[in-house]
């Protein structure tokens, strides 16, 4: 009952992780802090009154008395720049606050309500967004009249559209979450659901949007003041200073430099801060650096070879020996350790285990499709006599579909929604077997008929969404078998289906195996499904195999306490008398495996010696338990 460490997976990006960005963020934050400091204490810091004219000293360059020189009326540029900070801060705060206060509630409301409200508001927003922003601001100022505050109201209205769309977008997504449904069942009012339940989930993108808006407001304010619609002379703002500088460009080019640099630095700092915030708060963005699409195979470090070897079978198709898979960089975290099994032609091996046991990863490892960050560090995978670990990735790619094929859990997502199901099967045939378009299509229709779909010619022209889940899974099976592979990996192929459909699909697998003779690696969490379809079953727990036996032996005489626990926990096994048998605790995550026997902390039969590593016994019947010979775990005893 321990709370798991969520940090290990790296799903949650930690802020301030990379040092280079640390420095940049530090610089950005100091610049912004300085800006605010100057704005607040402008009266004290500025060496001169920004409005005091001194026409004799007009348009002078930098000097000891005037560090940044003077403008056309002899006013001190440094003082005006410092007072400009005040305008900048006021402008940014005011416009951003108006934008947030206006955009977020409306966005929340229309996103939650939908219907006509949403339709009308969104058309207005689209109209505003379709016109260049500064034009909209100018129109609003034309109505309100010029001046800083009026200009900021105009900018606030303009920028509220982006907050509105952001809030609406998040609400539209969150509204469908079950926690919102739970809140409605509790009886929370709409406004409570909006502000207490949904709003906190908007906060991260909102913060980022605020920083970006601040930058945009600063630029717009300078722009509006520059054309005389914002801050009115003689008040000092960066925009009016630029205006002046433009007018006297020929006489003193330096005038444009101080406000220009101030604007650039401030906007850059704000945007940089926004970027960093987005990366750190964003859900899992750039959490792991991908090293390449497919998993890398490393040469075997065969020295410490594991002891257990699966017995050699007649007509062996697949042989996995001592497989070890690691995640992360050296040394990495083991996901699968010491895994060995073999499958013969026409045989179905079940790989059974709960989530986190590594059963799906085993299937992907055989296909060489483990994904970024994962690699095989030990062991061998021999398919039809070829060690897959010695092949280049292009050669493995050639084997995929030809020699080994896969059927996934959810047929509606494993088929491409943009193409007809017939063309998806035909494509495999054309690519792998070089058939002509006509031949491939005919073969595809024949395959669709073979997997028990009535009217195959018509159904081949259907798109995946037009088929039921069971039909789509039949298509996926037809596609997997199109090149007559010697090994079929089926990963929870019936889990998403209704029981009556599940039965049909299991029968189909059996029929097809009788006909094509392929070996099947059947991955499932459901022991009863495994009992139906498998010849032999390998039980996995926490990344290793704990037991392997023929299907009858395993169900009638389990040797490992975990297998026995799973069997008794299945609802089919016990009578209608609670409490139902349970296995205490949870499956440990990789990295939190107990030393020695990984099941020891949940095992009722654990003894002191279970803290030492336990080897798998060899042969037909494999068990990884020190007490396997002492325990009688047969069901009903």
């Amino acid at each position: 009952m321990t709370v798991e460490n969520a940090e290990s997976a790296g799903a949650v990006g930690k802020p301030w992780r990379i040092s280079a960005s640390n420095v940049l963020v530090g610089v950005a934050v100091s610049i912004l802090a300085l800006l605010v400091f100057l704005a607040v204490f402008a009266d004290v810091i500025a060496p001169y009154d920004p409005l005091r004219q001194n026409l004799i000293n007009a348009l002078q360059g930098p000097s000891a008395r005037h560090w940044l020189g003077t403008d056309d009326l002899g006013r001190d540029v440094l003082s005006r720049l410092i007072y400009g900070c005040r305008i900048a801060v006021i402008a940014a705060t005011e416009a951003t606050a108006i934008a947030v206060a206006l955009g977020v509630p409306i966005g929340l409301f229309i996103g939650y309500r939908g219907g006509w409200w949403d339709w009308v508001v969104m058309r207005i927003v689209e109209a505003i967004v379709s016109i260049p922003g500064i034009m909209v601001a100018i129109v609003i100022i034309a109505i309100l009249g010029p001046g800083l505050h009026r200009a900021m109201i105009a900018l606030g209205i303009l920028f509220s559209t982006s907050f509105l769309r952001l809030a609406r977008g998040v609400v539209l997504a969150e509204r469908e979450e079950i926690y919102v449904r739970s809140a409605r069942v509790i009886g929370a009012s709409d406004s409570r659901i909006l502000f207490r339940h949904i709003f906190p989930n908007i906060a991260p993108p909102l913060i980022v949007q605020v920083t970006l808006t601040v930058g945009a407001v600063l630029l717009s304010e300078a722009g509006l003041s520059f054309i005389g619609l914002g801050v009115q002379p003689p008040q000092a703002s960066w925009g009016t200073m630029l205006n002046t500088a433009a007018a006297f460009m020929q006489l003193n080019w330096f005038l444009s430099i101080p406000p220009g640099i101030a604007i650039i630095l401030t906007v850059l700092s704000v945007n940089l801060l926004g970027d960093v915030l987005r990366d750190s708060i964003g859900r899992g963005i750039a959490a792991t650096a991908p090293e390449g699409r497919t998993a890398t195979f490393e040469p075997s470090r065969s020295a410490a070879s594991p002891a257990a070897r699966p017995e050699t079978r007649e007509n062996e198709v697949l042989r996995v020996e001592g497989l070890e898979v690691m995640v992360g960089s050296d040394p990495g975290l083991p996901i699968i350790t010491d895994l060995s099994f073999s499958i013969a032609q026409g045989e179905t091996l079940g790989l059974v285990g709960e989530s986190g046991s590594g059963k799906t990863m085993t299937g992907l490892a055989i296909l060489g499709l483990m994904g970024a960050g994962l690699r095989i560090t030990r062991g061998s995978i021999v398919l039809d006599g070829i060690d897959l670990r010695c092949l280049a990735s292009a050669e493995i790619e050639k084997l995929r579909g030809d020699e080994v094929a896969m059927v996934f859990q959810d047929p509606t997502t494993s088929l491409n929604p943009a193409f007809t199901v017939g063309s998806q099967i035909a494509e495999v045939l054309r690519a792998k077997q070089g058939l002509s378009q006509r031949q491939a299509w005919d073969r595809a229709v024949a395959l669709i008929e073979r997997v028990g779909i009535p009217q195959p010619g018509a159904r081949a022209k259907a798109y995946p969404h037009e088929l039921s889940g069971g039909m789509a899974q039949r298509i996926a099976i037809a596609r997997a078998l199109s090149c007559n592979p010697s090994l079929l990996i089926a990963d929870e192929p019936t889990t998403a289906l209704d029981v009556t459909v599940q039965q049909e699909i299991l029968d189909l697998f059996r029929d097809l195996q009788d006909e094509f003779g392929m070996a099947i690696l059947f991955i499932t969490h459901d022991l009863a499904v495994a009992a139906d379809i498998c010849d032999r079953i390998s039980v996995m727990y926490a990344g290793e195999m704990v037991e392997m036996a023929g299907v009858d032996t395993l169900f009638h005489d389990p040797k490992h306490p975990y297998t026995a626990g799973l069997l008794s926990a299945m609802p089919h096994a016990s009578d209608r008398n609670p409490p139902l048998p349970t296995i205490r605790g949870n499956v440990p995550r990789p990295g939190a495996w107990p030393a020695g026997c990984r099941f020891s902390n949940r095992c009722d039969f654990a003894v002191a010696t279970c803290k030492q590593p336990v080897a798998l016994t060899s042969g037909e019947r494999m068990v990884r338990c020190l007490r396997a010979d002492q325990l009688d775990l047969r069901p009903g005893t």
């Binding site: 926690y179 207490r196 009992a531 926990a569 409490p579």
Partner: protein, 343 residues
């Protein structure tokens, strides 16, 4: 039997309307058609059926998340359909829910304390300290500890999250909890922990459950009664043991026969018997007559045109199947079960 049920659903229909391009009403989809159900206080009713059978629609209608299009739902003295999904506080706080997916049913931005005490905040005047005390009490009810209060949902496993969801559902001491596939997203070894917990709480607190699930064996374990749905219709209802051991409706039988068994020998025997059966039309939609007529191995001419009414089943409950009609007595489906009962 004279005690009035806590929840009584009569002739309930739920219809969803598709939307056409201009936002006008499009084609109707009849999710539930003329359903009758009753749950007594402290009782568990299991509602089973395949995806699309309408079982979640019934749950959502009871919870006031979806409006009923006709029929009535009586809860205590309240007519829920007349309230049109706007339940007053005294109804809301008596009906709670636990949903399937513990990964999205808990608000990721709230702490466990916030999640568990949210119902108290909405419905009671308890102050913060009182709420916290109740939250600790609730966590203990679901075998979690006080220290978990300040954590966020992502720090827990699926089973633990479901415990938190249950604690929140228990907060207001409801009379009815709707459990919508409460364990189907969990691992086998965790499933039973949650089932046991639900069972314990039910007996200790006298709560009634409406349990929605697709796993008949599991439903059989914790339900007092089972109702089976097919294409929007309830086709059979009765005491749990009777439905599970002597199903009267051909669909219930098919459903039970399809559940894989843990015994390879019996599995094999069943496979052999399946091979002898004729292949059936897979067309599932039926507009007139019995909803199951196209897949039913025992369909009669009458099933094509008439909708079978509820017939009483020996051993308790009802089933909507003409095989149970008095006039076909002698070769109907429940006969074997009667013979069995003769000692």
């Amino acid at each position: 039997m004279t005690v009035r049920p806590l929840l009584e659903i009569t002739d309930l229909s739920v219809t969803y309307w598709g939307r056409s391009l201009l936002g006008l009403r499009g084609k109707p989809f009849f999710a539930v058609k003329g359903a009758n159900l009753a749950i007594r206080a402290g009782e568990t009713l299991g509602l089973v059926g395949e995806s699309g059978s309408g079982k979640s629609s019934i749950a959502n209608t009871v919870l006031g998340l979806v409006p009923a299009s006709s029929g009535s739902i009586r809860f205590g003295d309240h007519d829920l359909v007349a309230m049109k999904t706007r339940y007053p506080s005294e109804v809301r706080n008596q009906i709670q829910a636990v949903f399937q997916d513990p990964y999205s049913s808990l608000n990721p931005s709230m702490t466990v304390e916030g999640i568990v005490t949210e119902p108290l905040r909405v419905h009671t005047n308890m102050n913060k300290a009182e709420r916290r005390e109740r939250a600790i009490e609730l966590l203990k009810l679901v075998s979690l500890q006080e220290e978990h209060l300040s954590r966020h949902p992502h720090q827990f496993s699926g089973g633990q999250r479901q415990r938190i969801a249950i604690a929140s559902a228990l907060a207001l001491r409801p009379k009815l909890i709707v459990l919508d596939e409460p364990v189907s997203a969990l691992d086998v070894s965790t499933q039973n922990q949650i089932i046991n917990l639900l069972y314990e709480r039910r007996d200790a607190l006298g709560i009634a459950y409406l349990l929605i699930a697709h796993d008949l064996a599991l439903v059989h374990h914790i339900s007092d009664r089972i109702a089976v749905m097919y294409l929007g219709h309830i086709v059979e209802e009765g005491p749990s043991d009777r439905v599970y051991k002597n199903p009267a409706h051909p669909y219930t039988k098919a459903l039970l026969d399809a559940v894989p068994l843990l015994d390879p020998d019996r599995q094999r025997a069943r496979r052999e018997s399946r091979k002898l059966q004729p292949a059936l039309d897979t067309q599932r939609v039926a507009d007139v007559g019995c909803p199951y007529k196209n897949r039913c191995p025992m369909a009669m001419p009458r099933c094509q045109t008439d909708m079978p009414p509820e017939y009483p089943v020996a051993g308790g409950g009802v089933a909507n199947c003409f095989l149970l009609a008095p006039e076909v007595e002698g070769h109907h489906a429940t006969k074997p079960s009667r013979e069995k009962r003769i000692p």
